[in-house]
Structures are given as structure tokens and as C-alpha cells.
Symmetry: C2
Subunit: 220 residues, 2 copies
Amino acid sequence: MTDPLLQDPPDETDEAQVATKAAVFNAAERLFALHGFQNVSVRDITAEARVNLASVNYHFGSKDSLLFEIFRRRTSELNRERARMLHEAAAEAGGKPPVREILKAYFAPPLRWASPDNDRRISVQFIIRARSEGTAEMREVLRNDVSHLARFADALTAARPELPKEDVYWRLHFILGMVHQNRFAEFDRLHHLSGGITREQDVEGLLSRMLDFAEAGFLA
Amino acid sequence: MTDPLLQDPPDETDEAQVATKAAVFNAAERLFALHGFQNVSVRDITAEARVNLASVNYHFGSKDSLLFEIFRRRTSELNRERARMLHEAAAEAGGKPPVREILKAYFAPPLRWASPDNDRRISVQFIIRARSEGTAEMREVLRNDVSHLARFADALTAARPELPKEDVYWRLHFILGMVHQNRFAEFDRLHHLSGGITREQDVEGLLSRMLDFAEAGFLA
DNA sequence: CTTGGCGTCGAACGGTCGTTTGAACGCGGA
DNA sequence: TCCGCGTTCAAACGACCGTTCGACGCCAAG
């Protein structure tokens, strides 16, 4: 079991020695997640991080490179967590995890990170923003980073071998859309529409609802 | 039946007499849809439309107002088409259309507009972009424009009265996500992932696949 | 023919942006 | 004590942005 996605990568930057770089990184992630990439200037970032204006270009080369580095690290962490959960589900089920567990491995990490008390909440918002507002370079990474998706496609195929592969891929496509569109702003509309019936849910309750829907859709 | 959403609104601007305004409108919609709002300057628009730089501010007041006017007209047209299809489905079914027909009334208009030979393809791309990159003002309109969504929620409740209203709203929420995330860029990833198994589909085939998934999810 | 309003035009304004510059600083090693 | 290097600093550069301005042509009404 020498799975590259399951191993922690070596620390790429030694932030303990460069507090400024870490401060810029965190401030940039926070501001990008809250206001969008184009609406945050280098001056905003350095002001939030309480560092000099030139720090961004000194430590990261350019504003674009800074964004890309945040994006690369966060998506890598997220996909590694998903791979870990899928791996565990396979171990528990003796090789062939059920559909619901496969989907859970994909849904749960970003949902749990996004829970109000989790400090990774900002990272999830950042990734969601990057998906729609990101550079062409970043979107290309997302499109080509198919290796970790292939695991889920394979697992789903194994769980329902009678389903044509074409259907597996299309329904996986729809499922990906469900989780990727989960911008927090959309919940406001839901609550507004229902007149308050849909009360704030805990993460596990929301996860359960999503899994009910996605599982039924996949097995249609 | 005096339904305001079913009536065509009067022409708000007499474009026949002001060719410049129409040229700016169309050029802006095209460029915004292709490159995003923030990446298109007023100079780009006026160059594409072959009009003077000051035309945007003269005819629309500001760049923001121009975007907002395009957005308001296109979403209005789209929602009117959806309301029309829901109305027809209700008429055919004698008041209570089945779940699949309700969902079809929501899915079909943007999908058909987005087909390669349809000249409204650009408008759909524009709306999709506006949903994620739009001004706070525009996102507020989307969030508060719940009246047309309430029709679909009511129709779904009537089609499945045994389902708790809370579930209706949550599942409608997931269904909305399915169609809203349908950026065209995502299809590339699907085709890449499947190794080409998922061949290009005609619009009706894709619509049918989406309805299979959404219907099963809703009835879970 | 004159007048006035409307649309268009080239030009410019004020501001913000990402990035660069060169000097100053702090600190471990010669 | 002095040097060298990595880092931080204030300041400025050049480009691009949305918007505004005043002049001009045009055509219909007086």
C-alpha cells in the first residue's frame, strides 16, 4: 500500500522561521475567501497581516503565485482527507465499500471543515471561490486532477457492477455538482423560501440529508 | 389567470431607435459571459461594439448598471419561460403535474438555451457567471426572488403531500444546485475522467439523465 | 435661418492597482 | 568589530481603470 495520496507531503515551506510569510498566507486566504480574489488588493492583504506592502512579491513572487500556492495546498489537504476516508471505508468493508460510504468519503471532509466551530471553515470557502473565480491555471489543475476522482469512480463501479460505466460517470458528475455548489449564500435563499422551516442543521444532519439524496439519485 | 410572471413585460427600451445602446448591451453580455465581469473593461466593451468609450456611461449610467440591466432582463426571461412550462404542465395534468414534469419545467429552459445552435447560449453563460461573480446587489435579487421558486415548491408539495415540507425544501435546494453548477467547463473534467466514454450528448438526452437523477433523489 | 436638445466624439482626470527600487535593518559568523 | 546576507521598509513607477468634460454634428421645431 504505497499510495501517494495517503502520505503526508514534506513541509514545503518552513513557516516557523518566516512568520511574515505565514501571516501573508493566512491573511490572503481569509480575505480571498470572504471578498473574492479580484476584490482584494495586495495592500489589503499586507494591511490585514500587518506587514510591509512588498512582502507579497518578496515571499511569493506575485499576487497570482500567492493565490495559486494557497489553492494548491488546500486542495491537496482536502483530497488527501477524502482519500483517507475512502481508504478506511474500504478497509472496514473488506475491499468493497457500499455506495453510501463512498459518497460519504467525498462529502464529509468539506462539510465538516465548514462547520462553524472549525478553523478550516475559511479554507473551504476559499476553495469554493477558487473553483469559480480562479485563474485559468487553477481551473486547469482542477480539470486535470482526475487521479483522486478516479478512485471514487472505480469504487462506485465496484459497488454497482451492473450499472453501465457511462451512467456511473454521469451520476458521479451530478453528485460532484451537489457538493461543489454548496456556497453558504445559497442557504439564505433556502431559509427565506421555506419561511424558516428549514432550521439551522448540525453538520451530520446536513450530511445525512445530502447522502439520502445523492444515494437515491445514483441508484435511480 | 392574471399571473404577472406569465405576461410579457412592455419593452423597456426602444432599441430600434438607439442602435448604439443595443450594440453595447450585446457586446457586454458576450464579453462578460466569456471572460467574467471583472476581466472586461468598459474599453473592451466599446471596442467590441465599435462605439465610443463614453457610450456605456451615457446610455447605462455606469458599468455596474449595465451589468445589472443585462442580468435583470435575462433572468426575467428565463424565469418567465420556466413559469410558462410549469403552467402548461399543470394544464395538461389537470392541476397536479407529476414530479418529473415539475422538475423538467425548471431544468429544460436553461439547458435548451445552452444548446450549441441556440443563440441564447451566451445568455445562459452570462447568468451562470452572474450567479457567482455578480455584485452584492445582484446576488440579493437572486436570494429575494423567491416568488418564482415558491411555485415550484408548492407544486412539489402538492405532488407528494405525504413528504414533510422540510424535506421538500431541502431536496429542492439540492436540485437547484444541480442545475446551477452546470458550468460548461465541468463537462471537460467529466469527459477527461471517463476517458471519453461519456460522449457528447444531445440536449434532450442530458435533460433525461438529469431528470432521472433528480427525480430519484427527490423521492428518496 | 435660428435654436435647442440629443447622441457622439476625442481627450483628459483622479484614483487604484501590482510591482519594483534602493536604502536601512538585524543578526550570526569571521 | 566588521562583513555579508536575508529580510523589511518607505516611496515611487507605470499601467490601467471607470468616469467626466466640453466641443461638435445633426435634425426637427419655432
